[in-house]
Point group: C2
DNA sequence: ATTTCCTGACTGAATGATCAGTCAGGATGT
DNA sequence: ACATCCTGACTGATCATTCAGTCAGGAAAT
């Protein structure tokens, strides 16, 4: 993956797409197409067209469709998980322990704020995340392992610190279940509106996040209570 | 072509596909391929090959790939949701109200018992369910609306009956989140084992279901408590 | 004798990838 | 100063392959 060189960015040009931005334009287009059509459903032609670029240029920069996908996913995963780690570290480094609620919110907010933007470049990465997280395809599993497992371990440890009676095993389940609940928000299928006659809106992020935090924290505390007698 | 001989069969099941069973053999093969490759990734060729049948026969019986998919999904959805309704009705018709735990278990057990079998015909329908439930593709949304929304409403109502202080809106969220948690179990990615050094096994259905029921019920009760002051 | 079941051979469209070659501009040599 | 070379960015044309779907007609069942 060749990053844009400095000389390109300085070069003053007037063209359809600023040559220095074409690399990123391809990633943006790929994100959009992969999010809406899936890996198989998205075609290199459609991505090229959306990026206003010759199809061959994509192969020039990224070689294969698989590597394009990984580059696109890595860009967002690093942005999201960097922010997650930042917030979590800040919370845990504080002398007084944070609430479970604060940690759970740190788990979700960066994902939805970075991955849910549809305007300006954001292609709906959170939808890609949903399918990656539930996939058994080696490509997706490797991606999860490489970019998401490390931060997952940090959150699991945080759960254990805040709820000392939660054993590690339950903490892992708690993490997995939390991610599952978060899927509901990231997939944004509109089903909740259908089931509630429009009263529950999965595009109202803040309202939904509040419900999710309540639900997840309640679930975790129930896991703690379950073994209170052990 | 000469009638298929036993030696041609890849699977140990029956021999020389009984002509009357070919219709179902195609559905079984489709389920397997769709579950493991996705809708786009599964090819009619591969399905035909797995079913030991000419590709044209699939088109004879089901016309298009889309209709084959729907037929395959409908078969399992009806089996699963029929069983769910049966259990739920039995619980709710009893003069004394069931526990929330019993209802939540009724929500999940038929799905995993019918949709998780990999042996003898079962192709891992639960994985298809996961991608359908999180998809924005009209094909998947219609399928959810037609086959899953009715039973969803029954469970949402059951939540409200058992927890009278739960308003309908929160009950819908509770249902959505519960399904999200269930995804963790149905996707069976093996991630929980990776995150826990093998201590959490997502193929141990009974152990996992117990954790899920605890977590979900805790979550629902937290939603109830949230509005206790209203 | 019909209807139903089933097949091999085929089609046109779409796919990911490749390749020779253009172009602009920086570096090098004189 | 000028000519030469080199490289990274980029493209149109085209490749082999795979795809879902079609069709004429054979085989089997009723």
């Amino acid at each position: 993956m060749t990053p844009p060189t400095a000389s390109q960015l300085e070069r003053p040009v007037v063209e359809a797409v600023d040559p220095g931005r074409r690399f990123d334009a391809i990633l943006d287009a790929a994100e959009f197409e992969f999010a809406n059509q899936g890996f198989k459903g998205a075609s290199m032609r459609a991505i090229a067209q959306r990026a206003n670029v010759a199809q061959a240029l994509i192969h020039y920069h990224f070689e294969t469709k698989e590597k394009l996908f990984e580059a696109m996913a890595a860009r967002q995963a690093n942005a999201i998980n960097g922010r997650r780690a930042e917030i979590l570290d800040e919370l845990m480094d504080d002398p007084c322990l944070p609430s479970l609620e604060a940690v759970v919110e740190a788990l979700f907010r960066p994902t939805i704020e970075t991955g849910n933007r549809l305007a300006q470049g954001g292609g709906g990465y959170s939808r890609i995340l949903v399918s990656v997280a539930n996939s058994i395809d080696p490509r997706d599993q490797q991606l999860t392992e490489r970019y998401y497992d490390p931060i997952a371990q940090k959150f699991i440890s945080a759960f254990c610190t805040i709820e000392p009676r939660l054993n590690r095993q339950d903490a892992v389940w708690a993490y997995m279940f939390s991610i599952g609940v978060g899927m509901t928000m990231m997939a944004r299928t509109g089903r909740s509106a259908r089931l509630s006659d429009g009263q529950c809106d999965d595009s109202d992020i803040d309202a939904m996040l509040k419900e999710i935090v309540t639900f997840v924290c309640g679930g975790i505390r129930a896991l703690v209570a379950q073994h209170a007698l052990d």
